[in-house]
Symmetry: C2
Subunit: 253 residues, 2 copies
């Protein structure tokens, strides 16, 4: 079926996923671009509907194999749905995985986010968490939605590689601590020596402007990244990624 109009019902459903309300109602999110779509396919994401520009028959077959209802669409229809500057020829709607916190957290490194609000930072942190072998990302109250278009793109497919949980940060952090995880957070008042975190650790990353909230910081060991120049601070996702890297090196040594 060739979609020639941006007023097609499937197109409207996909566009509604640009907003949190639409994502919640449909239980879906939207992805765009060949790289991200391929990453979602190989990661076993559950596709619902997909839109492929005329002439990309091979991708159509792969998407049908992944469970998608595939529409061939005119270029202008796909452009009306996508959010990036460079034109894409494929986009899709995908089921959002459940985000309930687990009864038992996986062993290793857990990343917990305290009101991380910038969508690009959120996606970049998820990508770095994945690269550093973290076992999951716990989103406390007041974080951006990881399934919005921008964090999905910034994560470069990492949202499909590790679980993302929504939880009460204070409660879950207490649980992790009582289960033996070393709670660590980046904090201006922290020590510049990375503590020995053992084999289970939860790293808390705070809000871009205000850092980790006081009641959460009070539950953690505090660590301050050494800096050598004039900038007062690093970008939040950069600071988070450097600490994850240091933790990964320590935990794998």
């Amino acid at each position: 079926m060739l979609v020639e109009s941006t007023r097609n019902d499937a197109v409207k459903r996909a566009k509604a996923l640009a907003n949190k309300k639409g994502r919640t109602e449909q239980g879906l999110h939207f992805i765009e671009g060949e790289k991200l779509v391929r990453e979602a396919i190989v990661s076993g994401a559950e596709f619902v509907e997909a839109f492929v520009e005329e002439g990309h028959d091979l991708m159509e077959a792969v998407l049908i194999g992944s469970g998608a209802r595939v529409y061939t669409a005119k270029r202008h229809v796909i452009e009306s749905m996508t959010n990036t500057e460079s034109p894409q020829w494929v986009c899709a709607t995908v089921k959002t995985p459940p985000t309930d916190v687990p009864e038992v957290y996986p062993s290793g490194l857990i990343i917990a986010l305290d009101k991380v609000q910038e969508p690009g930072n959120l996606g970049t942190i998820i990508r770095s968490a994945d690269a550093m072998g973290a076992k999951g990302v716990l989103l406390g109250e007041g974080c951006a939605d990881p399934y919005a278009p921008k964090p999905v793109r910034a994560s470069m497919g990492s949202i499909y590689h590790l679980p993302i949980w929504d939880g009460d940060l204070k409660k879950e952090l207490s649980k992790l601590v009582s289960d033996g995880y070393t709670p660590l957070c980046a904090h201006l008042k922290g020590s510049e020596t990375l503590p020995d975190v053992g084999s289970n650790c939860v790293l808390v990353i705070g809000n871009e402007s205000r850092g980790v909230s006081e009641e959460i910081a009070d539950m953690c060991k505090l660590y301050r990244l050494p800096m050598y120049g004039f900038a007062e601070s690093l970008n939040a996702s950069v600071a988070a990624s450097i600490i994850m890297y240091e933790l990964a090196k320590q935990m794998h040594s």
Copy 2:
């Protein structure tokens, strides 16, 4: 003088700085927001014109002290100039410093960029370079313009803390090497052990998709950040920042 119209000449001049052509013709760039304006003031940036919302008299006085011709402006006029979602009450035009490469590079860590094209990445790399005590950032051909609004914002004022040079990357890299700088680049084929770079080092960061170009990589020691998870790669500014951090630690130890 109260500016009530977005068609005011000074407003038009400031808006023209959104484009490379306007920035080149006027030799200026545009900054917005209290934090960045304050950072530029304390860093000794040369202000030309500034726009302050009615009621912020104190900032007006400080800007006049920094050499700016200050206009009091209606909120909607400032909103028409600024690019961020959260409304700003101050913005300004600032002289762009010269970007000629130096005869003699400063000792320490130099960051060189090979076709880094995403404006946010560029600004974030400059911010991290500053935080890690780098002595300057050399932009080869094909990089984004660091004085465009987005990199300026992402740099959080770091563009005023260290020199930014425009140069022929291959030629400058040869010069740095013959001056005794260790040339290092992040490369998928590199060793996972950071080499000893001595006290002078030039770190080359490559394009977001294609990495460092082959003829440049051939001139460098190659280093590959160890990774521990499923993501194939890190965000370019994150990877660059982690390596800068490792280099800063080594060079300060």
